[in-house]
């Protein structure tokens, strides 16, 4: 037999390589499934070699992992829970679920740091610093993800006050200060500092996400995802464990890039998102609602307009997800196609609550790939489109982003539905969108409102089209 350090390190090496290849393949449509599998296999290998071959004191006689019964029980219970939840969950609730899972990972990192801290009597400064960082980042990632989950699930509202920016700054300075103090005078701490840091990081996570508006949640989830990766990497530093370091850092940097891409899509800086001066408050774009009247359209008129058009574009948004209208939408699209109408979907990169959210939903409803146009492909064909149907999207079609410098989202690229010949906007009410900004699109001459639940409206539209 080979000796255990060798088996352990080879296992970790293979695991790391599989993570890298997995991530690589996850970023290409053709290989994404395989990439996910490979990364999963890498994880299983890393777990198994740890269970079998991890050596606490490489110099001395082999002492492997103890308490195997506890570990296997925890793994079994967690596997069942994780599996059940992910199989049962509705596709529309996916963003919440990712946020929830992410929070658990953060909690695990914080817990490890706490146990490690309480079970050892002395640390050198470097180890202690790493431990504190893992604790703080993991802790805030946990509560932050839970709040993001609550917001997406509609259980937590937006609470914003300018004071919170200062409170957050205080938390940040406080935790840095306490870490510094703890490192400078290791004798003065006696176990309490870690608990204080834990408390602060948990509170910071809450205060960090609380004031950020719903429209920015995709960015926040992505950011918290990278935090969890970094926390895992710091926990890996504690044990000099390469697979944890590489895995964690890969996620940290990949999450950061994704976050930046999302911010770019909204034409805002990350700092601007985090400080949260826009998410909850309307700013300049508000206030014109009272004077203008949006025109409604009846179901029959809408059906006729679509059925006799040459080209129809559907712009989905979060309203589609909330109403679970993806199947009804596909139904309607097929009916129009049967009547010879050319139908395509225009997908804004940050439509919904996560990047790619709309793509996942429409894929679930079997909408063919080639029908999904990305924003840059959809905009040039907009002026040859007869009817645009906006299904529960708002801010991503707000022309104020292009022509109203006072609008808080001025400069954000949008789908230019106002260039189409007609525009039907499906909405539940005249309330402004998630970002709280009034949308001048609704009051344009070519725009007509169709109020009601998106699924309900689409189903009714379909039966109207059938009876034509």
């Amino acid at each position: 037999m080979f000796d255990s350090p060798f088996a352990l390190e080879i296992g970790y090496l293979i695991g790391t390589i599989l993570f890298i290849i997995g991530l690589r393949q996850l970023s290409h449509p053709d290989t994404a499934r395989k990439g996910n599998m490979l990364a999963g296999v890498g994880m299983i290998i890393a777990i198994i070699v740890t269970l079998l071959f991890y050596d606490y004191d490489p110099g001395a006689e082999f002492v492997g992992v103890k308490n195997m019964g506890w570990i296997l029980a925890a793994i079994a219970v967690a596997s069942v829970i994780g599996w059940m939840v992910s199989v049962k969950i509705k596709m529309t609730a996916m963003p919440e679920l990712v946020s929830l899972f992410n929070g658990l990972g953060g909690a695990a990192a914080a817990t490890i740091a706490m146990v490690e801290y309480t079970s050892k009597s002395s640390f050198d400064t470097g180890t202690l610093a790493v431990l504190f960082l893992s604790l703080v980042i993991g802790g805030m990632s946990f509560t932050g993800s839970m709040i993001a989950y609550g917001k997406l699930a509609g259980k937590v509202g937006d609470i914003f006050s300018p004071i919170m920016t200062w409170v957050n700054l205080l938390f940040l300075i406080g935790s840095v200060g306490i870490i510094g103090y703890g490192l400078a005078s290791p004798d003065a701490m006696d176990g309490n500092i870690a608990w204080i840091l834990l408390g602060i990081s948990l509170a910071y996570g809450i205060f960090f996400v609380m004031p950020i508006g719903g429209a920015d949640m995709p960015v926040v989830i992505s950011l918290l995802n990278s935090f969890t990766g970094v926390a895992a990497a710091f926990a890996g530093f504690l044990y000099g464990n390469q697979v944890m370091i590489t895995g964690g850092i890969l996620v940290g940097s990949a999450g950061t890039i994704l976050t930046v891409l999302m911010c770019e899509a909204m034409n805002r800086s990350l700092l601007n998102v985090i400080i949260g001066d826009f998410g909850g408050e309307g700013g300049g774009g508000k206030g014109q609602a009272g004077e203008q009247v949006a025109k409604e359209i009846t179901l029959t008129d809408a059906a006729i307009l679509c059925a006799y058009a040459q080209r129809v574009c559907i712009v989905p948004g979060y309203g589609l997800a909330v109403a679970q209208a993806q199947h009804a939408c596909h139904e309607f699209e097929k009916l129009l196609e049967a009547k010879g109408v050319d139908v395509y979907y225009a997908i804004h990169p940050v439509a919904g609550r996560m990047p790619g959210h709309m793509n996942v939903l429409l894929a679930e409803a079997d909408v063919p790939y080639p029908k999904l146009y990305e924003m840059d492909d959809a905009n040039p064909v907009m002026d040859t489109t007869d009817v645009v149907i906006v299904v529960g999207a708002n801010d991503v079609v707000n022309p104020g982003a292009e022509d109203d410098p006072g609008s808080p989202i001025y400069g954000m690229p949008i789908i230019q539905v106002h260039n189409a010949k007609n525009c039907i906007i499906m909405k539940r009410s005249m309330n402004p969108g998630y970002a709280g900004i009034q949308n001048p699109l609704f009051f344009r001459d070519k725009s007509r409102m169709l109020f009601g639940d998106a699924k309900d409206s689409l189903t009714k539209l379909s039966s109207e089209v059938k009876s034509l």
Binding site: L26, G248, N359, V360
Partner: protein
């Protein structure tokens, strides 16, 4: 200061690893089509469940009568494992839906 220097010297291989991994992560992700953003985020999230290795190490060194460490270790293993299993399963489910279209 001396401690910082010692720490750096002792861990320089890991610090190199850290820096290479950061750049590798950037490179791997920087050209992703928007349709894959959600599955990718979810898959990356599952990989961050690698923290479970640390959880196993923590609980694996606890004395069998140290119920505090055992309890928290158990909790950490569970949290990490839910992250891993749930993360990969959810990602797979999302990607399954793309596959049908081909």
């Amino acid at each position: 200061m001396e401690e910082v220097m010692t720490f750096f010297l002792e861990n320089r291989i890991f610090i190199y690893l850290l820096i290479f991994a950061i750049f590798l992560g950037f490179e791997l992700i920087s050209s992703v089509p928007a349709i894959l953003h959600t599955p990718l985020m979810s898959g990356a999230n599952a990989i961050s469940g690698v923290v479970i290795i640390g959880a196993i190490i923590v609980i694996g060194q606890a004395e069998s009568n140290d119920y505090l460490s055992l309890g928290f270790g158990f909790l950490a293993v569970m949290l990490g494992m839910i992250n891993v299993v749930g993360g990969f399963a959810v990602t797979n489910r999302m990607l399954d839906m793309f596959k049908k279209k081909k």
